[in-house]
């Protein structure tokens, strides 16, 4: 037990929480934007996977991590665009569209990986680039905080910046107002000339952009190569985090960190003598427990609202 505490109460562990949370946070913010527009993007998992492979492949061919990042993000936007096209234009059910994207991504990435590297498991034969880690001057020399907050991948900092950007966008900009109005009362939005379809398009593309960043981080920051199904359910955990965070930016960020911590714990526990298979279930168990707690809270709130007088 002592060793467990020493693992958790270390700056390394705190550092790893940030490291592990990054892809979940990106995807959760993407889920937030699309969900607030009333069209839940369940293709996040697949979008991340495609972006992860695209980043690796393009950075290997162009010898530039930045070009790889750009292409990864564009691929995320493109897949989200395809999803939007089918669900908004042709009225495919978003759940079916999302499942199609996820299945395509899971099989398609392996296919292209094999095509380009001759390997079905990992992209180790490709000379792909990695996005740089950043040491923050001054902060890096502060004890405790320095080792936790400094030296992260550039995308980890970008994910924190994205929290502020999404917060501002949702609360303070016309686009945010429109996204929220479309999600909450599309008839009201329509009656004042806000195009529901166009707003949902924008929201889906933005969620694709954020998931693309998350995917790029997976293969060009968190790891330095692509492996099959490497997102390992992070897109789904992100959707759970968004839902448990009650679709608010702050709540979603906090629950993302909660799930990130569970993930980091699972990683840390592998040094102890606990079967690794059991440990690997930890983030998912945390997700289920988290959602359960959330659901209980919600139903209590609903019951309270129901007995409140003068409510329709």
């Amino acid at each position: 037990m002592d060793s467990l505490w020493s693992v958790i109460w270390s700056t390394d562990f705190a550092f790893s929480i940030l490291r592990v949370t990054t892809p979940i946070l990106f995807a959760a913010l993407g889920a937030l934007i699309s969900n607030r527009a009333g069209i839940i993007n369940i293709g996040l998992e697949g979008i991340m996977l495609v972006a992860a492979l695209t980043g690796v492949v393009t950075s290997a061919y162009t010898h530039s991590a930045w070009v790889g990042l750009l292409c990864a993000v564009l691929s995320g936007v493109m897949i989200a665009g395809i999803l939007a096209f089918f669900t908004l234009q042709f009225k495919t059910h978003i759940i079916l569209g999302g499942i199609a994207i996820n299945m395509f991504a899971s099989g398609g990435t392996v296919f292209f990986l094999y095509l380009l590297s001759g390997d079905k498991g990992a992209s180790s034969s490709l000379q792909s680039k990695v996005l740089p880690n950043v040491d923050i001057p001054l902060l890096k020399d502060v004890p405790v905080l320095g080792p936790i907050l400094s030296g992260h991948n550039v995308l980890t900092y970008a994910s924190i910046a994205a929290v502020f950007a999404v917060y501002y966008m949702m609360k303070r900009t016309p686009l945010g107002l429109r996204i929220r109005s479309v999600g909450e009362n599309p008839h009201a939005a329509q009656s004042v000339g806000v195009s529901v379809v166009r707003t949902q398009y924008t929201a889906l593309l933005l969620s694709g952009l954020l998931a693309g960043l998350g995917g790029a981080y997976m293969s060009m920051g968190y790891l330095s190569l692509f492996t099959r199904d490497m997102t390992a359910g992070r897109g789904w955990i992100a959707i759970a985090a968004e839902s448990m965070g009650r679709s608010t930016t702050v709540g979603t960020t906090l629950t993302s960190f909660l799930f990130g911590a569970a993930n980091a714990l699972a990683n840390a526990l592998t040094v102890l003598k606990i079967p690794s298979e059991l440990i690997a279930t930890f983030p998912y168990a945390a997700t289920v427990i988290g959602l359960l707690v959330y659901a209980i809270g919600e139903s209590r709130k609903r019951k309270k609202a129901a007995v409140k007088p003068n409510e329709g």
């Binding site: 900009t173 016309p174 909450e184 009362n185 009201a188 009656s191 004042v192 329709g312």
Partner: protein, 519 residues
Amino acid sequence: MSGALLEMRDVTKVYPNGVMANYKVRFSLREGEIHAIVGENGAGKSTLMKMMFGMEEPSEGEILLRGEKVKLASPQDAIDRGIGMVHQHFMLVPSFTVAENMVLGMEPKKGLGIHFAEAVRMTEEMSRKYNLAVDPKAKVENLTVGMKQKVEILKALLRGAKILILDEPTAVLTPQETEELFRELRLLKDQGHTIVFISHKLKEVKAICDRITIMRAGRSEDAFRTADVTEQEISRLMVGRDVVLKYDKEKREAGETILAVRGFSLAGSAGSRLLSDVGFTVRAGEIVGIAGVEGNGQTPLVEALTGSLAGTAVGGSVTVKGADILRADIRAIRKHGVSYIPEDRMRQGAAGEASIADNLISTQYASGKLGGGMFMNGGKIERLAASLIEAFDVRCSGPKQPIGMLSGGNMQKVVVARECSTEPDLLIAEQPTRGVDIGAAQFIHRKLIELRDRGCAILLVSADLNEILELSDKLLVLYEGRVTAYFEEPSAVGEEELGLYMLGINRQDPEQIGRAVHR
């Protein structure tokens, strides 16, 4: 008489499902007036209004604004031309503040973001200018209905509305709020705005409107000056019959009591009363009609009778052949020999993508007559379907055709065939011929009379006076959840007289009403 501000010339609207909602409607709006459009539900008011606001396009006819022909393809077109609308169901985002709702879609900007201070200022300015007091920073979900309506009016005015369409604005207001709304509307009129006021409350129309256009069965009458007509005259024009259907209906002695509703009261959410002390009986071999303007308790009553009780029964009983059915589920109620033709055939009456045959057997597949055990007997089903299609003259390509492909009239015939085919003891028919062409309507009426002659008790709920006066052996009128009249000889009742009860102007004494309950 200068040219009209807005004019609709011979406007006809046929919906894709074949329902003709408006036929050669003429409507003319003068600048600076408050103009009422009155009519019963289903008379075509809302369709007319939707075309005025660009939510629907006319199938025929034209709309002229200031003498110029215009095409209103979307609400945005209407807004751009100075037409605003206050919907009956408010178009507001509950979690937004008043100011945010006001500026949605036309947000003032500062840099990248919304200039919230400016939005609040704009709201305050409009609020002062039109004397509509609202708090710009309050959240809409915390506002009263009356306040929300003010926000809706301001929203339209902020977008430059000169013509304001109000769809049943007083339906949701308290009398005090209504008074306040009228003061505000008069003020708007004084400032040069033109108001279209849609309602079926005649007292209010008389109180505030300058002119009045009456709609009936999708057609319009010429506009009257409100001062020139009395409430009675308006009600006669609203509910009057145009084509008189006649059926040879032999007199029959009513048999034993099948359905008995006694002292039935129903409370809705928030303690509102949906039904108060409703009592009547339906006996074997008679048709009892329930007339009334829609929304006066018919829906909760039918729901209570058919196992979809919404709200809390606070008194009284509902029995079929002596058995309490208030808390029984739908299958149990049907086992008592009850059939039901629902008002909404698209949503409740039929499964649109299923075949005609599947729809026909949906009330009896579980009875075991069509094959027991694991499988259904396909041949039996087909024979049953084919015979019903023939007996009810359903125009279709065969029993396997999806019901959703049929016209409204033929679809309704399938529903009626299904409900009649089980030889029910009690049939509850709710608006059985709404939106159905005359031919199909007459066919359905004859089938109902045949069923009655075979000894079925029928409860007919309809807003169509023609239908209800012709078919009913006994007739009740519902107004605000109460029975306000009972007639033993419906054919001897004048429409005008009936209209007065339907609109709550007259009401019979309790003793007369009490005669509706037989032992």
